[in-house]
């Protein structure tokens, strides 16, 4: 027998088992690789560099992706160890048999090690290929420019070797164990089914026959049962976090963006300024902005007559005039008293950055930003509200610069030598959150620019929107041909669509893990069915109907799944609500959606797990016995 001939033929002969292991490995490797490629594409790493979204939203998503990546890798590792362990453990009997007929230990070990190497390499290579294909498909389906970056190919060897090493380590263990066993022991079902050594427990003695057989069989295979319950519990944590967390976080973050841009708002500005402002909002989904733009160009100034004219139009709920400028601003450090030592502690430093400064009239604001602290409410105070990205760039502790304590709400921001007290930090998609709001009059005072360059117009939602928009456009076109009106709902939709697509991909990846977990469950149920094969044959020969076999295995599968479901869902919900999303938006609809999806996953897993049961029930008794 050639040393390559036997392993290859043996793998081909055991088509179902071989393909189960290869497909499981492929899915695990590809889902891990896809998540890494996607995260890298979006810039979610340990250091978030804000090219899309805002710092706050990147943090929410990044934290989410990091947690999912951790779970996916953990599950991948557990699944790999489990499926490879199952595959090789089942070979213990063959190992014993070959040794019993005189095949040298080293040669038998070599045969099975070659088998392990073949399936591992095949699974990992296919996984890497599928991972890139999935990434390529996602980047082509989603047309946002940020997705069009080329992937980081270095992730391929990283993921490949991680899973290759894991598979070899976990697969070689049962082989080494089998090599140490005398043939007689290796041939015992106690070894190859990992059975308990004694039937000391008699659980559910008073219950029906089917329930009794099911529960005792599960108890007897305690080790494998616990493994699969732990594995499926982590899968359900992942699913709950991905689905409930994803849906809740998606709803929450979409609401934040919608409030900040404003629903039903229309932009009125000079044609060039209009394009630039839209670009500032489009940077949220990866569009490149023009950093040399001169906002103070006098051509952009909105004439006072425009505002007078707007008052004559119907269907307008409010007009929010704004002055948008780019300014080089400076952080102002502060001090605080340590309550214990009463020592003075410096807070922050004097960091400098270019930000978009927006002057607004607090009495006329038509948008609503989600703000930590408070938003501007008076024109008379020298107050400012900074975007979350400004906070990260200028007001975060930075040990490399020896800034240990920093808190924007205790500090100020200096614009053209005038300090503004920071009273809030907001989530705002404008310029990726690199924005600062100050009272319009104060900004006009410090810059000497006495006009405004954009106006946000809130349309009355009770009146026909299209009609009002058309009237507005006609008014601007006729009176001020250099100016234009832009429906901000268009850019808001794109912002939200980008956010939605990002969340969708993040939520889709755990589905790949679910597939591999399903295959793992099928593997476990195959082991279960195999272990009880003779007994099922006896039951059927004595008068059990084929459905009895399905019932026994269904109860075992349901027990495993429900135990995992209960543990996984509880942990998943706690994790989602407590850790991942601050101030979540949870509606009855969201809960129903999550519940339906999770139950569908449970039901799907149950159906899949019954495949070995149905297959065995359809097998003639004689074939089972022999």
């Amino acid at each position: 027998m050639s040393s390559a001939y036997f392993p290859i033929n043996d793998l081909l002969r055991r088509k179902l088992q071989t393909s189960l292991v290869v497909v499981t490995l492929t899915v695990v490797v590809s889902s891990t690789l896809s998540l890494l490629l996607f995260s890298e594409r979006l810039g979610f790493g340990i250091t978030a560099h804000v090219e899309i979204l805002t710092y706050g939203l990147s943090t929410v998503l990044g934290q989410f992706v990091l947690f999912l990546a951790f779970l996916i890798f953990t599950i991948g590792a557990v699944i790999t160890s489990f499926i490879v362990f199952l595959m090789m453990k089942q070979r213990t009997r063959d190992f014993g048999l070959m040794k019993a007929v005189g095949c040298p230990n080293g040669l038998v070990f070599g045969y099975f090690m070659t088998e392990l190497l073949i399936v591992t390499v095949l699974g990992c290579v296919l996984g890497v290929v599928l991972g890139f294909v999935a990434d390529f498909a996602a980047s082509n389906v989603l047309q946002f420019s940020i997705y069009q970056k080329s992937p980081n190919y270095w992730f391929a060897p990283l993921v490949f070797f991680s899973f290759f090493a894991l598979s070899l380590a976990f697969g070689a263990k049962p082989l080494l164990d089998a090599a140490r066993l005398p043939p007689l022991k290796a041939l015992s079902p106690m070894q190859y089914f990992s059975l308990g050594h004694a039937n000391k427990f008699k659980p559910l003695s008073k219950s029906g026959l089917v329930l009794r057989i099911s529960s005792r069989s599960l108890f007897r295979r305690g080790s494998a049962t616990i493994r699969i319950i732990v594995l499926l519990s982590i899968v359900f944590v992942l699913l709950t976090v991905a689905l409930s967390g994803g849906i809740i976080a998606e709803d929450t973050t979409k609401l934040w963006v919608a409030k900040a841009v404003g629903v039903d708002n229309v932009l009125l500005a000079h044609n060039i300024m209009c394009d630039q402002y839209i670009l500032l909002l489009s940077k949220f989904f990866g569009e490149n902005g023009n950093s040399n733009f001169d906002y103070s160009d006098e051509r952009f100034a909105l004439p006072d007559e425009v505002f007078q004219g707007l008052k004559t139009l119907t269907g307008i709920e409010g007009v929010d005039p704004r002055l948008v400028l780019t300014e080089n601003v400076q952080e102002l450090s502060s001090y605080m008293i340590d309550p214990e030592t009463l020592a003075t502690i410096p807070v922050g430093d004097n960091r400098i950055s270019d930000v978009i400064v927006v002057g607004v009239d607090p009495d006329k604001i038509v948008t609503e930003s989600v703000t930590k602290g408070q938003f501007l409410n008076t024109s008379s105070d020298w107050n400012a509200v900074i975007g979350d990205t400004v906070m990260d760039a200028m007001y975060a502790p930075d040990l490399s610069k020896k800034i240990r304590v920093s808190d924007p709400l205790l500090q100020s921001i200096k614009i053209r030598d005038n300090p503004f007290k920071i009273i809030g930090v907001c989530v705002d998609p404008t310029n990726n959150g690199n924005v600062t709001y100050v009272p319009l009059k104060k900004l006009q005072n410090v810059t000497g620019i006495l006009n405004t360059n954009i106006a946000l117009i809130k349309l009355d939602s009770s009146i026909d929107r299209a009609e009002t928009l058309k009237t507005l456009e006609t008014f601007v076109e006729n009176s001020y041909p250099d100016f234009s009106v832009f429906d901000l709902n268009e850019v808001l939709e794109k912002d939200i669509m980008f956010l939605g697509s990002t969340w969708s991909i993040v939520m889709l990846l755990p589905l790949l893990t679910l597939i591999s977990a399903s295959l793992c469950l099928v593997g476990f149920m195959m082991l279960t069915a195999d272990e009880q094969r003779q007994e099922f044959a006896i039951l059927r020969a004595v008068g059990a109907k084929p459905n009895t076999i399905i019932a026994v295995l269904t109860i075992q599968s349901t027990t495993v799944l429900l135990s995992s479901f209960a543990a996984g869902i509880s942990l998943g919900i706690i994790t989602t609500l407590m850790i991942l999303v601050p101030n979540p938006v949870v509606t009855v609809g969201t809960i129903a959606e999550v519940a339906v999806l999770l139950l569908a996953a449970l039901f799907g897993l149950l159906l899949l797990s019954l495949y070995p049961a149905v297959k065995l029930a359809k097998t003639p008794i004689l074939r089972i016995i022999t």
Partner: protein, 231 residues
């Protein structure tokens, strides 16, 4: 109907069984015809590989013939679907295999009881019958033990008790003493004697001379062919 005579428990006409092994065919039974009278004790004899187990499998409906017909207790077992066959085996047949007889996750008492549970007999009746049967096979004290805690002979006796649980009209046993030592073999023979005295129809495939001696009818097979049928 192969015969209108209700005195016959098994009637087989021209039974053939061919197994397909890859591209080759193995003819295990060739044109076997016989009948078994109600209440008779039949010994199925012949060397290993002569087709005894296959014949028992065909009688019990565990396997289907490639050709010919077989009627058991007035039923053409070839025509029954899996569910009806299961019911038939549960209610009318008792079958003891040479090995792998018991469900390892159930205790001795539970192993004997489960065919009755399928018939939904009252719990008190099941308990009484289990005690009765275990006493009959001499294992009354082992009711709460698991199969792994019994010897091979004891396991085989439990299998006999289980096969009798639903008071079957036809009792089949495939080399019941084949794996046992002389002492345990004798005990099994004693049980078979009890069954004979109870007037059960019994078909046993065996090499055991003691069991053959009990037989009213002897069916001998060789290379799948019926070579003799003595009453």
């Amino acid at each position: 109907m192969l015969t209108e005579n209700p005195d016959y428990t098994v009637v087989a006409v021209g039974l053939c069984k061919i197994y397909q092994m890859g591209s080759s065919e193995i003819e295990v039974l060739r044109d076997v015809s016989f009948s078994v009278k109600k209440g008779s004790f039949v010994a199925l004899c012949g060397p290993s590989g002569s087709g005894k187990t296959t014949l028992l499998n065909l009688i019990s409906g565990i396997d289907k013939p490639t050709g010919g017909q077989i009627e058991v207790l007035g039923q053409n077992v070839n025509e029954l679907d899996e569910d009806l066959l299961a019911e038939f085996r549960c209610n009318e047949l008792g079958f003891v295999f040479q090995s792998y007889n018991l469900v390892s996750t159930l205790t001795v008492a539970e192993n004997v009881a489960f065919p009755m549970e399928w018939r939904r007999r009252p719990e008190e009746e099941i308990t009484k019958r289990v005690t009765e049967l275990l006493e009959m096979v001499g294992l009354g004290q082992r009711a709460n033990h698991f199969p792994a805690q019994l010897s091979g002979g004891e396991q085989q006796r439990v299998a006999f008790a289980r096969a009798l649980a639903n008071d079957p009209r036809l009792f089949l046993a495939d080399e019941p003493t084949g794996n046992l030592d002389t002492k345990n073999g004798e005990k099994i023979t004693e049980i078979l004697q009890i069954l004979k005295s109870m007037g059960k129809t019994v078909i046993v495939s065996t090499h055991d001379a003691e069991i053959v001696r009990l037989a009213d009818q002897k069916i001998c097979l060789e290379d799948g062919k019926l070579v003799s049928q003595n009453e």
